[in-house]
């Protein structure tokens, strides 16, 4: 656990600690503004849609679809980066994993999986639903 805390310290700041702690427990939390009712991404304490500071973290459904993607062929191990539009309506950058790169398409339904980074912090990624 101590190692994991060190890993989290490398990625979290005081504003985003709550997100990464939830991620360490295997949950994707999405910030939602109680004033305008909208989700946003990436997580902030101040709503980018209306400026309100009344943000609550909600458990994500963990589903969405690929908005766009690109396969980095020049990397030592090629990988698929993507924007996934979540069912809640907000769009996050992520990786599409555990599927054939040739199967990935815009509009493809995806579901949440967690993977640890090489440094040991948990990352929300997606795979074909």
């Amino acid at each position: 656990m101590a190692v994991k805390n060190e890993a989290l310290a490398r990625i979290a700041n005081p504003e985003t600690k709550v997100f990464w702690e939830a991620a360490a427990r295997g949950g994707l939390r999405l910030p939602k503004c109680t004033s305008c009712g909208r989700f946003h991404w990436y997580p902030r304490r101040i709503c980018p849609h209306c400026g309100s500071t009344t943000i609550e973290m909600h458990a994500a459904k963990g589903t969405g679809e690929v908005y766009s993607y690109s396969i980095m062929r020049r990397a030592k191990v090629p990988y698929a980066i993507a924007y996934v539009r979540l069912t809640e309506g907000t769009t996050m950058m992520t990786n599409v994993v555990d599927c054939d790169f040739d199967d990935i398409q815009i509009g493809m339904p995806v579901k949440l999986v967690f993977r640890d980074s090489p440094e040991g912090y948990p990352l929300p990624m997606f795979t074909k639903a």
Binding site: R10, I11, A12, N13, E15, T16, W20, R38, F39, H40, W41, Y42, P43, R44, C47, P48, H49, Y67, S68, Y69, S70, I71, M72, R73, R74, A75, Y79, I81, A82, Y83, R85, G89, T90, T91, M92, M93, T94, N95, I106, G107, S117, Y121, L123, M125
Partner: protein
């Protein structure tokens, strides 16, 4: 207050080097400064305003002001990546109009080639204090795959093809063959682009700009000074700038901040896209050109693929000659920032000093368009409209 007609670009200089292992960064900035001042017929002693961005060594403008021993009364180190220098020209015009300086020097230089930077494929480092990077860097965003996502979405929404994107590189290569300083002077075909290695789908190696050392500078002056010099009069008549990001999670990769920077510049200049005779369009990747052409209004949104195809961007062949120096795709992308060279080639065209094979006849109205940062995440755009008086 409008800047229309309040300032002129009196000096412009592009460093001839494309690889400078034996030069220092400060030296390159100084060499382009001297080059642009000599071009204008001015000296370092005439400079009272200095503009630079994050490529300059040291903190903001201070190291270069000290190195050149300038006596300045106005400085601006706005850094919006590759488009900074277009914004500097606009800010210099504002400062001149407000009486804050008379002769503004803008410099850019860098040595990414000598330093061996893998510019397009390197992932940005994670910094927890930068609010976005913790939610992006772990997934491997580099420049090539971020622009790859822009291209992929454009293809999905509008049917744009890799062949159409390739025409942008083909046009740039037709121009670069006449530029003795260009890194890549061979004319290429659509097939050459499609057969080059895939970097980040759907972008091939030849969809990407070069990595080069070098730099450039411009000198912006008040009208009375411009008229006292012996150079053709290139007047700043419109400018716009913008920053666009992920819109709080409403990510939309189909348009750029050029939509608003362009609209502002055209309104200030009092001209429309069909009036423009030559356009310098930021070309970090082929898709960068295509989306900005749409956003500037040279064609309707989604029609960029058809607009660039069949040589429409080739000088003497198509309707909109672009990047007649070969652009970032073939000529030069010093410091990984292509904005300065966009201004310089527009000035050459307006002066009638472009290569005769690519010179637009009686070129009186030109546009320069810049992008900084990443169109896939957050970026700045700037538009300049310049007129030969």
């Amino acid at each position: 207050m409008s800047i229309k007609g309040r300032a002129y670009i009196a000096g412009a200089y592009e460093h001839p080097t494309r690889k400078a292992p034996d030069s220092s960064l400060a030296q390159l900035h100084a060499e382009v400064a001297l080059g642009a001042l000599a071009d204008a017929g001015l000296t370092l002693r005439d400079v009272d305003g200095y503009f630079c961005a994050g490529d300059a060594p040291g903190m903001g403008p201070m190291s270069m002001v000290d190195y050149l021993n300038l006596k300045v009364r106005h400085v601006d180190a706005t850094d919006t990546g590759g488009t900074s220098y277009l914004i500097h020209v606009s800010h210099a015009a504002q400062a001149i109009a407000a009486g804050k300086c008379d002769v503004a020097l803008v410099t850019l230089a860098g040595r990414p080639r000598s330093e061996g930077q893998a510019t397009g494929t390197a992932v940005r480092p994670l910094n927890p204090n930068q609010p976005d990077t913790a939610f992006e860097s772990p997934f491997g965003p580099a420049l090539a795959n971020m622009y790859g996502m822009v291209a992929r979405r454009h293809m999905h929404e509008f049917g744009t093809t890799s062949e159409q994107l390739a025409w942008i590189k083909v046009a740039a290569s037709h121009h670069a063959q006449y530029n003795p300083h260009a890194m890549l002077r061979d004319v290429v075909t659509v097939e050459d682009v499609l057969n080059s290695p895939m970097i980040a789908d759907p972008l091939h190696r030849l969809d990407c700009c070069v990595i080069s050392d070098g730099g450039g500078a411009v000198v912006v002056v008040r009208p009375e000074i411009a008229r006292s010099l012996k150079r053709p009069l290139v007047k700043v008549i419109g400018a716009g700038e913008s920053v666009k990001g992920q819109l709080g999670g409403d990510v939309d990769l189909t348009y750029t901040g050029a939509a608003s920077s362009g609209a502002a510049a055209f309104e200030e200049a009092g001209v429309k896209p069909s009036d423009i005779q030559y356009a310098s369009i930021y070309d970090s990747f082929t898709i960068t050109v295509l989306v900005q052409l749409e956003d500037l209004g040279f064609c309707a949104k989604g029609q960029g693929g058809r607009f660039v195809a069949d040589g429409n961007l080739i000088s003497g062949v198509g309707k909109l000659p672009f990047n007649t120096d070969g652009g970032g795709l073939c000529n030069n992308h010093p410091a990984n920032r292509g904005g300065m060279t966009k201004i310089i080639e527009a000035v050459r065209q307006l002066r009638g000093e472009a290569h005769p094979k690519v010179q637009v006849r009686d070129c009186r109205l030109a546009l320069a368009q810049g992008t900084g940062g990443s169109l896939g995440t957050r970026h700045a755009n700037a538009t300049l409209i310049l007129e030969r008086e």
